[in-house]
C-alpha cells in the first residue's frame, strides 16, 4: 500500500473512530430519556423527570462532540476521497444530504427546546420535544447506514462510460437487503452502550453512597434495557448480519472467521487463535467443529469457502485486523449477555443493590460496549476492503488525485493532537455532570 493511501485511510479511520464514540451513546440514550420522561408523565414522580433532564445534559455534551467531530467526516469525503466522491456522489450524496435535512435540524432544534424550554412549554410538549430528539438521532443513523449499506452492497445504480455511478432507482437505496439488519444491529448495539452507561452511573452512585435513590433507578433501568439490548445484538440482528456477509461478501466472511483453508464437510468455529499470514493458518487455535456451518446455513455439513478460494487482490488487505476485530466484538458481546443475565436475575430477586462485586463490575464495564461497537464497525469496514464500493470500485482509486501524502500526514497529526484535547474536555464535562448529580440545584 502506498503512503498516500495509508495516510488517507488512517486519517479516516482515526477521525471516524473518535467521532463514533459520541453518536453511539446519543442514539441509545435518547430512547432511555424518552422512557424516563414517559414514566414521569404516567406516574408524576419527580425522580423520573430529573433523571430525564440529567441524562439530557449528558446527551447534550455528546451531541456537541458529535457535531464538531462529524463535520470533518463529511468534509473528508471531498478532501481526501475526492475521486470516490466524484464517482459515487450522485448516489451516496442522496442519503447524506437527507440526513442533514431530516435529522440534524430536528435533533438540534428540539434539543435546545428540551433543555431550555420545560417551563415555557408544559410537560406534554416537553415529552414531545424529547421524542423528536430521539427520532432525529435515529433517522440520522438510518441515513448513515443506508449510505454504508450501498457501499457494502451496491444497488439501484448504473455505471456510465466515464466510470461514474448514477442513481436509477431511488427507493432501492432504502430497500437494500443489507440495510435493515445492519441498522437494527447498530441501534441495538447503541442501546447496549447507553444502558451500560446508565447502569454504570447507577452503580457508581450506590457504591459511593450518594444520590442512592437515583443510583437504584439508573441501575434498574440500565440492567433491564441492557439485558434486552445485549440479547438483541446477538440474536436475531447479529446472526442476520453474519448471514448477509456470508452471502454477499464471502471473502470477508472467510477472513473474519479465520478460515484459511476450505475443508470438506462442515466448517469449525474458531474461538481463539492468531492468524499466521506467512503459513496461512491460525496459531494456538481452539475451535469447535461444524458449528459455523450450522450457524450460517442450519446445516452441520455445509462447506464454507476459505480464503484459499479467493484471489489475493480480492481478499481484505488486513486479515489479522479483521479477524481480531470480529472476535473481540463477538467475545465482548457474549460476556455482556452473561453479565446482564446475571444482573437481571439478581435484580428480579431484589438483591442486586447489595452485591458489591457485581456493582463494581457494572461500574467498570463502561469502556467495553464502546470497544465492541467500534470493533463491530471495523469488521464492516475492513471486511469491505479492498473496495470502497464492494466489488466495483477499489479503495486505491478513490483517493484525491492532487493531495500529497505529506499534506495528509500533516493534517492527521493535527487531528490527533486536537482530538486529544477534545477527549479531555469531554471527560471533564461528563465527569462534572455526573459529579453534580441528578438532583436539581436550589437557586
Amino acid at each position: 500500500m502506498n503512503d498516500m493511501l495509508f495516510y488517507d485511510r488512517l486519517q479516516f479511520a482515526f477521525t471516524i473512530t473518535f467521532h463514533y464514540i459520541f453518536p453511539q451513546l446519543t442514539m441509545g440514550l435518547s430512547l432511555l430519556i424518552v422512557y424516563f420522561k414517559w414514566k414521569f408523565l404516567k406516574t408524576d414522580i419527580e425522580k423520573y423527570n430529573n433523571a430525564a433532564k440529567f441524562f439530557m445534559k449528558i446527551f447534550a455534551v455528546n451531541f456537541t462532540m458529535g457535531v464538531v467531530t462529524g463535520i470533518p467526516m463529511e468534509f473528508q469525503f471531498g478532501t481526501n476521497w475526492a475521486k470516490f466522491s466524484e464517482l459515487t456522489g450522485q448516489i451516496i450524496g442522496q442519503p447524506l444530504a437527507m440526513e442533514g435535512m431530516f435529522s440534524f435540524f430536528l435533533e438540534s432544534s428540539f434539543l435546545a427546546l428540551f433543555i431550555f424550554g420545560e417551563k415555557l412549554m408544559g410537560q406534554k410538549l416537553h415529552f414531545l420535544t424529547g421524542f423528536l430528539v430521539f427520532l432525529g438521532s435515529w433517522i440520522s443513523g438510518w441515513f448513515i447506514i443506508a449510505t454504508n449499506s450501498w457501499m457494502q452492497h451496491p444497488v439501484g445504480y448504473e455505471i456510465l462510460e466515464n466510470g461514474k455511478f448514477v442513481l436509477h432507482n431511488f427507493s432501492a437505496l432504502f430497500s437494500n437487503p443489507w440495510l435493515i439488519p445492519a441498522f437494527l444491529h447498530n441501534q441495538a448495539a447503541s442501546l447496549v452502550t447507553s444502558s451500560f452507561v446508565v447502569a454504570s452511573i447507577g452503580a457508581f452512585y450506590i457504591l459511593r453512597n450518594k444520590n442512592v435513590e437515583y443510583g437504584k433507578l439508573f441501575l434498574k433501568t440500565g440492567v433491564i434495557f441492557g439485558v434486552i439490548s445485549s440479547l438483541l445484538v446477538a440474536f436475531p440482528t447479529g446472526d442476520w448480519n453474519a448471514k448477509n456477509v456470508a452471502k454477499y461478501q464471502p471473502a470477508a466472511f472467510a477472513g473474519m472467521e479465520g478460515i484459511f483453508k476450505t475443508e470438506d464437510g462442515g466448517a469449525e468455529i474458531v474461538l481463539i487463535g492468531q492468524p499466521n499470514m506467512l503459513d496461512k493458518k491460525l496459531d494456538n487455535k481452539i475451535a469447535v467443529p461444524n458449528i459455523l456451518s450450522f450457524l450460517t446455513y442450519k446445516d452441520w455439513n455445509r462447506q464454507i469457502k476459505g480464503m484459499d478460494q479467493f484471489k489475493k487482490e480480492d481478499l481484505p488487505d488486513n486479515i489479522p485486523a479483521l479477524y481480531y476485530a470480529y472476535h473481540i466484538m463477538v467475545g465482548l458481546g457474549t460476556i455482556f449477555i452473561a453479565i446482564m443475565i446475571l444482573s437481571a436475575f439478581f435484580l428480579w430477586k431484589n438483591k442486586i443493590f447489595t452485591i458489591k462485586p457485581l456493582l463494581w463490575i457494572i461500574m467498570f464495564l463502561v469502556p467495553f460496549p464502546y470497544i465492541a461497537n467500534l470493533t463491530g464497525w471495523y469488521v464492516a469496514e475492513l471486511g469491505r476492503q479492498p473496495y470502497l464500493v464492494y466489488g466495483l470500485l477499489r479503495t486505491s482509486v478513490g483517493m484525491s488525485p492532487t493531495v500529497s501524502s505529506g499534506n495528509t500526514l500533516f493534517t492527521l497529526l493535527g487531528f490527533v493532537g486536537l482530538y486529544m484535547l477534545l477527549g479531555l474536555l469531554f471527560l471533564v464535562l461528563v465527569g462534572k455532570t455526573i459529579h453534580q448529580g441528578p438532583t436539581p440545584k436550589k437557586h
Binding site: 450524496g93 493531495v403 477534545l422
Partner: protein
C-alpha cells in the same frame, strides 16, 4: 433543475453565514471589547447557546452540495485541502474554548479559553472571507504549468500562498492580496453582525458603546468595500457583465448597500432587531452579489486551457436531482416549522431568561 439546487444550496450556505456568522462576530467583539467579567460571560453565552445548532447548517449545505454537484464538491474540497482542514480545526478549537471557559472559575483559566474562542472566531471569519475571495478569483484548474495540465481538467491543488502573493500570477495560492482584502471585509462584517446580535440578545453593559463601535466599523467597511470593488475589476475584469445582461441581479448589491447605509443610523434605530436585520442584509447581499457576478460559473479557471466549473458541468444526473427535489421540498417545509417554533419559544434576551446550565 440545476438552478433549483444552486439556489437551495446558496440559501442554506447564506443562512449558515448569517447564523454562525453572528457567533464568529460575537467572538471577535469578545476578543476586543469585552472587559468586565460579567460582560465576558454573557457575551460568550450569546454564542455558546446557539453555535452548535448554527453549524448544523454547514453540515446540511455540505451534504446537499455533495449530492447535487459531486464534481464541484470533490474538486473544491481536495483542491482547498489545507485551508479547509484548518477551518475544521478552528471550528473544533473554538468549540472547545466556548465549552471549556465556564468549567472552572480561575481567572487565568477563563482568560485563556476566552482568547482561544476569540482568536479562532477571528481566524474563521478571515478564512471564510478568503474562501469567498478564492471562489471569485478562480483557481488554476487542471494544475496547468507551461501550458500542460498536470491533473484531470477539474482538479487542482492550492498551496496556502506563493511567493508573489498576487492573484494575477499563473498559479495563485489561497492567500494573496486580493483574498486578504475579502477576508478583512468578512472580519469587519461579521464583527458588526456579532455586535448587533449581542445588542439584540443581551443586556451587556457595553451595548451602548458597541453602537459607536458598529458606526466606526461601518465606515471601515464602506472604505474596504469601495476599495475591493476597484481591485475586483483588476482581478476579474468581466465581473459586471452578468449585472448588465440581467439587470434584475442588481437587487443583490442593493441589498448589501441598504444594510451598510442602514447601520449608519444605528443610534437612532428604535428596535434592536433592526440593526441585526441590517447586518444580516450586508452578509446576504455580499454573498449573493459575489455568486451572481459568477453565475453560472461556480469555480472559475485562471488558465485558458481548462474550462471553469459551472453548475451544469458538475451536476448530478437529472434523475438524481429531481428525486432530491421531491424530498427537499418536504424537508424545507419541516425546517421552516422547526425554525418558527424554536424562535417563538426562545425569543427574548438571554440574561432575562432562566436558560439553566448548558
Amino acid at each position: 433543475m440545476e438552478i433549483y439546487w444552486y439556489l437551495i444550496i446558496a440559501v442554506v450556505l447564506a443562512i449558515f453565514f448569517i447564523l454562525d456568522g453572528y457567533d464568529f462576530g460575537v467572538g471577535i467583539i469578545h476578543l476586543f471589547f469585552a472587559e468586565k467579567e460579567k460582560d465576558k460571560e454573557i457575551i460568550a453565552k450569546a454564542a455558546g447557546l446557539f453555535w452548535d445548532s448554527n453549524e448544523v447548517w454547514l453540515v446540511a449545505g455540505g451534504g446537499m452540495l455533495f449530492m447535487a454537484f459531486p464534481t464541484l464538491y470533490s474538486s473544491a474540497f481536495s483542491g482547498f485541502y489545507l485551508p479547509l482542514i484548518i477551518v475544521l480545526w478552528l471550528i473544533v478549537f473554538r468549540a472547545i474554548g466556548l465549552e471549556f471557559r465556564g468549567q472552572f472559575s480561575y481567572n487565568i483559566w477563563t482568560a485563556f479559553w476566552d482568547k482561544a474562542f476569540g482568536v479562532s472566531s477571528l481566524l474563521l471569519a478571515l478564512f471564510f472571507g478568503i474562501a469567498l475571495g478564492n471562489v471569485v478569483r478562480g483557481v488554476n484548474l487542471g494544475g496547468v504549468e507551461n501550458g500542460v495540465s498536470l491533473f484531470e481538467s477539474h482538479y487542482f491543488f492550492l498551496p496556502l500562498w506563493n511567493s508573489s502573493f498576487s492573484p494575477l500570477s499563473e498559479s495563485p495560492g489561497v492567500i494573496d492580496w486580493f483574498t486578504i482584502i475579502i477576508g478583512l471585509i468578512s472580519v469587519v462584517t461579521l464583527a458588526i453582525h456579532g455586535a448587533t446580535w449581542i445588542i439584540l440578545k443581551t443586556n451587556a453593559s457595553i451595548n451602548n458603546r458597541l453602537k459607536s463601535v458598529i458606526f466606526k466599523l461601518n465606515i471601515v467597511l464602506l472604505i474596504l468595500t469601495i476599495f475591493s470593488l476597484i481591485v475586483w475589476e483588476i482581478v476579474k475584469p468581466n465581473s459586471l457583465n452578468n449585472f448588465m445582461d440581467k439587470p434584475y441581479l442588481v437587487i443583490f448589491p442593493i441589498i448589501y448597500f441598504v444594510g451598510l447605509f442602514g447601520l449608519f443610523f444605528i443610534k437612532k434605530l428604535k428596535k434592536d432587531i433592526y440593526a441585526f436585520v441590517f447586518s444580516t442584509l450586508i452578509i446576504l447581499g455580499g454573498i449573493t452579489s459575489s455568486l451572481a457576478s459568477l453565475f453560472p460559473v461556480v469555480l472559475p479557471s485562471t488558465n485558458n486551457i481548462n474550462e471553469s466549473l459551472t453548475i451544469y458541468n458538475t451536476a448530478t444526473s437529472n434523475y438524481g436531482l429531481s428525486v432530491a427535489m421531491g424530498w427537499s421540498i418536504l424537508g424545507l417545509i419541516l425546517l421552516f416549522i422547526y425554525f418558527v417554533v424554536q424562535k417563538r419559544i426562545l425569543a427574548g434576551k438571554i440574561d432575562d431568561m432562566d436558560y439553566g446550565n448548558h
